[in-house]
Homo-oligomer: 432 residues x 2
């Protein structure tokens, strides 16, 4: 199933789909050569928005949850991709230590962890869970809704302090599914004998969205030249705004000016393409996740006129961290609809392979709003269905695998941007 | 769906399935390390037989046809695996030249070629077909039953004679789907600037089944030690017999003696395990394919008492070549049944990945006969179904993905044997 594109103005995207399909050999070759130069992160999910005139990643997650929302048909693909990844990092691997997020009450998150463990186990690894929660002193069992369970164990450094593991468990590879929002726990520091994936500077303690989208600019510029399209079709404008304090009202003028600049740029592009929609921007914390610290802005005055609750929402995000730096990003409408609900595609990758995806659907949200919010639902992408590879002869916009291939290409552009970003922001490039 | 195992005596195999599942991390790690040392062939299919007390490969095909019999759900897996393969051989590749078999009347074969082209195209390659038929002077179109078509083009060497291609098509990689039964065509010789996959000595002009099974002996010995099983459970006894001429009646005494030796060995094993079935062997051409030149033998006198038609069948195989060398292989019953028909699994691999498989089913053949014969049908293996990765908690023998994982392990043992075989039989090891 391809969600209905709820806009008459989808010509540009259908044409783009056609171009992408026709250019498949060049595109795949281009990616192959890029992956000779750059190492993809172990895994990644990309939130995208499809407005019919534009298809763009809006968020690139280096600690993807939500594996439980992928259809089980794609599991063999995920297993195969993680086999390729493990072979690269540590062919000799027996044991994988997975470090999840700390919230033990979010069952959906633990279902994601269970699904990931299933994938890595099938890859041929012994997988156990280590907790960053210092209060967790003994192995703790979490019972999942289906009756199965997970065991969270306290992390410990080896006797000589050089290795990280669990009791009677010495991993070769440590996989973080914890985005380190607040800071880098000292127990994760100074690990030189084991492979830590992704590296610590991929966590939100150090990562910045603006760095990512700066790299994405570079990637899209190169890609667009090859397939001969306007890079704007794949790339939302963005700019960085620092030292903004909503509570104290400082830095707001600069933020308003940035919002105005981006809105003006969008307006110009809309005019060029004859797009009648109203431009908007998204203001979000430059570091952070989980759909917090995000607002939709149609007029720069809105950032000045927030009420107390809204101010608080923009000031404090996950784990209580104060936010001062923001990214102002061109808002991309999502005109994909499943039934009456707005939908946005989320694509999952392991190593350099697209392994699946789903639509995030929200029936109470508008086409210009963040859908990553309570009340969202998930519909697996029609990936493993009959004739699951693209059909060159299908009419643009009608074949699910064609649409999905296009999504997979754009998601991989974001993945490549993440690779560049991790290279450029590496505090210790010599040992990377 | 798991085919019914039509034998009460399936304890050994169910226990083996359990062992294999439990040993998954060791097995996958073992394969990972083996693939660091040995390069798998580009692709491979393995015919297997499951007798309930034994699961063994009986034929390892390095020029697999039958891709059209794989379920379309596994296509993304095949695409991903061939991406990994191409990246290894020629990341810079744009063009792939595929050289098919010569028989233009076998529509099923061409459907296989169409399916393969679909896979490699999706990998991101321009794919065209070059014919070894010297009578084919211009591009020739083959119309498939679904109305689509394939174009066969004459092969040509480049002006300087160093490269092989088609008119206006210079490939980086040349993929043979032609098993070179008769001899190696001169147009394929002296290709040093392009990657020829698989190498020429993988063709039946040079390849010998006994070499393959000698290597398989080695592989299984190592593997069985690791998982602590009797290697015989995975490995049919075999021996080579040369200079046999059924027409002239020469070499038959030696053949009978070999048959007796193998039958005696099987009898001993059957006794050890309390198996009541009647031992049998398969006598087949040491070089050759397509189910020709094969006979089931329960008593060595049968090889002496052939009638004229049977003698002819054993003397001349595909492409009219005379056969003098034979492999005498322990016969493995196939006790898998779909409905009333005997079934044997065929597993497909690209690079080092299992990408799919099917059951070859024949309603007119017995449990001790070759099923690769006119009248055979194909049932895709239940690979891409719900919960398509193994379930450790399922009762042995009940879960399709568990059975299929076991098949995938044994098929990869044969794949590894093929890698060793190609290394050992390489006439130019220094340039391999």
């Amino acid at each position: 199933m391809v969600p209905h594109l709820a806009t008459a103005f989808n010509g540009p995207l259908l044409e783009f789909e056609k171009k992408i399909l026709e250019a498949t050999p060049s595109i795949e070759r281009w990616f192959r050569l890029e992956w000779q130069e750059h190492t993809p992160p172990f895994y990644c999910s990309v939130d995208m928005r499809n407005s019919g005139f534009k298809l763009a990643p809006v968020d690139t997650n280096l600690f993807p949850g939500g594996f439980n929302h992928l259809s089980s048909e794609v599991l063999p693909l995920a297993v195969q991709a993680s086999m390729a990844a493990i072979e690269k990092y540590c062919p000799d691997a027996r044991n994988l230590l997975l470090i999840p997020e700390g919230n033990p009450c979010n069952m959906t998150y633990w279902q994601n962890i269970a699904r990931q463990m299933q994938i890595y186990r099938q890859t041929g690894l012994n997988v156990r869970l280590g907790s960053l929660d210092e209060n967790l002193k003994t192995a703790t069992t979490i019972v999942l809704p289906d009756g199965s369970d997970l065991v969270l164990e306290p992390l410990q450094r080896s006797a000589n302090g050089r290795r990280l593991g669990l009791k009677n468990f010495d991993p070769c590879t440590i996989l973080l599914n914890n985005d380190l929002s607040q800071s880098i726990p000292s127990i994760l520091e100074e690990i030189h004998e084991q492979t830590l994936l992704p590296p610590l500077h991929a966590g939100w303690a150090m990562r910045r969205k603006t760095n990512h989208f700066d790299c994405y600019d570079e990637v899209v510029k190169k890609f667009s030249k090859m397939v001969e399209i306007d890079p704007w079709m794949l790339n939302p404008f963005h700019a960085k705004c620092t030292d903004v304090n909503f509570d104290e009202g400082t830095g707001l003028d600069a933020l308003m000016a940035t919002v105005d600049t981006i809105l003006a740029k969008i307006r110009k592009k809309y005019k060029e393409y004859g797009i009648k929609e109203k431009p908007f921007v998204i203001v979000k914390a430059d570091a952070g996740t989980c759909g917090m610290g995000i607002m939709t802005v149609r007029d720069s005055r809105e950032v000045r006129d927030l009420n107390a609750k809204q101010k608080n929402k923009m000031t404090v995000v996950k784990d209580g961290r104060a936010v001062r730096d923001f990214i102002v990003q061109e808002g991309v409408y999502t005109f994909e609809q499943i039934g009456e609900s707005v939908a946005e595609p989320v694509v999952y990758m392991i190593d350099r392979y697209v392994v699946g995806g789903f639509y995030r659907v929200h029936q109470d949200r508008g086409v210009d709003e963040n859908l990553n919010a309570p009340g969202m639902e998930f519909v697996p992408l029609a990936f493993a269905q009959q004739h699951a590879v693209p059909d060159m002869r299908a009419k643009p916009g009608t074949a699910a695998p064609n649409r999905f291939y296009m999504y997979g290409v754009v998601a991989r552009l974001a993945l490549l941007a993440a690779s560049l970003e991790l290279e450029k922001t590496d505090p210790h490039p010599e040992i990377y």
